[in-house]
């Protein structure tokens, strides 16, 4: 692989784009491909087959060829509302996975750089903050403040914009009350039930890192379902 291609892969990864790298296993040549790029002579003959793999985000040696395709998929975006202690553990765990993370919290004293490094932080009320982000159905929301005036507007936004994962921290009772408020706000039963609350899978943990781990396990599980569905 030419080092220019390596640099280009790193660059495109940081731009969070969908693309693929094609490698001709018999010549060792590789090139970057996305639906906008034109294929070079070497790969042109297999354009249809390459497009089939690319559109299905399939990785591997393309049948009947010596071309290997590896897809780089735009990561899922995760919005965390509440720069509380659990958020610090969440950030630590999430960096091992392919997610783009943004923290929203209007309370500046929570979002100090000492507590959160190398994470995008928006110091605004969730409604304003979310409206500034171009969200889509590949977004996940995790609310951690269990303060209705901060969490509820974020939950409403995520429900309306059909985020694929919505999880809300809080006890069963807190969640019941939250569901009541959302119902009063006009959300349907099914929508409200789509919220993972209390958030996280159950494995009997009570400590902060354990709660963070249970949230990440649930988020990763739901993300895998999303990626699998998008392939079918």
């Amino acid at each position: 692989m030419k080092k220019e291609i390596l640099k280009e892969i790193i660059k495109r990864n940081s731009l969070k784009e969908d693309f693929a790298v094609l490698t001709n296993l018999s010549t060792g040549n590789s090139e970057i491909f996305n639906s906008k790029n034109l294929l070079s002579k070497e790969f042109k003959n297999y354009e249809n087959k390459i497009n089939n793999f690319y559109n299905l985000k399939k990785n591997g040696i393309i049948d009947g060829t010596q071309i290997f395709i590896l897809n780089y998929i735009k990561p899922v975006e995760v919005i965390i509302v509440g720069a509380v202690h659990i958020a610090q553990y969440l950030i630590d765990l999430l960096k091992n996975f392919n997610f783009i993370v943004t923290i929203i919290d209007p309370r500046k004293y929570f979002t100090t750089e000492q507590r959160f490094q190398k994470v995008k932080i928006i110091n605004e009320w969730p409604k304003n903050a979310l409206e500034k982000i171009e969200t889509n159905t590949n977004f996940a929301l995790i609310t951690l403040t269990h303060d209705p005036k901060i969490d509820d507007p974020a939950l409403s936004y995520a429900l309306k914009n059909k985020f694929f994962y919505i999880g809300a921290l809080g006890s069963k009772k807190t969640h019941e009350n939250r569901c009541k408020r959302l119902k009063e706000a006009g959300f349907g039963e099914k929508e409200i039930r789509s919220i993972h609350g209390p958030i996280g899978i159950k494995f009997g943990g009570k400590s902060t890192p354990e709660i963070a781990l249970s949230i990440v396990a649930q988020l990763v599980s739901e993300t895998n379902k999303l990626l699998l569905n998008s392939k079918n």
């Binding site: 692989m1 080092k3 390596l6 790193i10 490698t23 591997g60 392919n98």
Partner: protein, 105 residues
């Protein structure tokens, strides 16, 4: 993860090291690392990343060092359960895999 490995490959190159990138291109059965899993090796034998559950890494390092030594650009290596080069314990997972190694130049 693959992002971190590629970034590391780039920083090795910037310090004038010779770097070989190994990528899993085909798997059969229960290979633990999916297609696209990556490992990098430099001429000193330092490595990062993984292409199996530890079964063939030693063999990959040797192959990468050979590639550099012989000034070859790329090679395809196939590992099966019986393959003795797959370290002495073989592929404990019972899987098979093909790894493509290439110099970054």
């Amino acid at each position: 993860m693959s992002e971190t490995i590629l970034k590391n490959a780039n920083s090795w190159i910037e310090t004038k090291k010779k770097v070989v990138l190994a990528t899993v291109i085909k798997t059969w059965g229960s290979s633990p690392c999916p297609i696209g899993s990556k490992m990098i090796v430099n001429e000193k034998g330092d490595f990062l990343g993984s292409v199996s559950g530890g079964c063939v890494e030693a063999s990959i390092i040797n192959e990468c060092l050979e590639l550099i030594k012989n000034k070859n650009l790329f090679k395809k290596i196939h590992f099966t359960v019986q393959d003795e080069s797959a370290w002495s314990v073989g592929l404990a997972c019972g899987g098979e895999l093909t790894v493509y190694i290439e110099q970054i130049n």
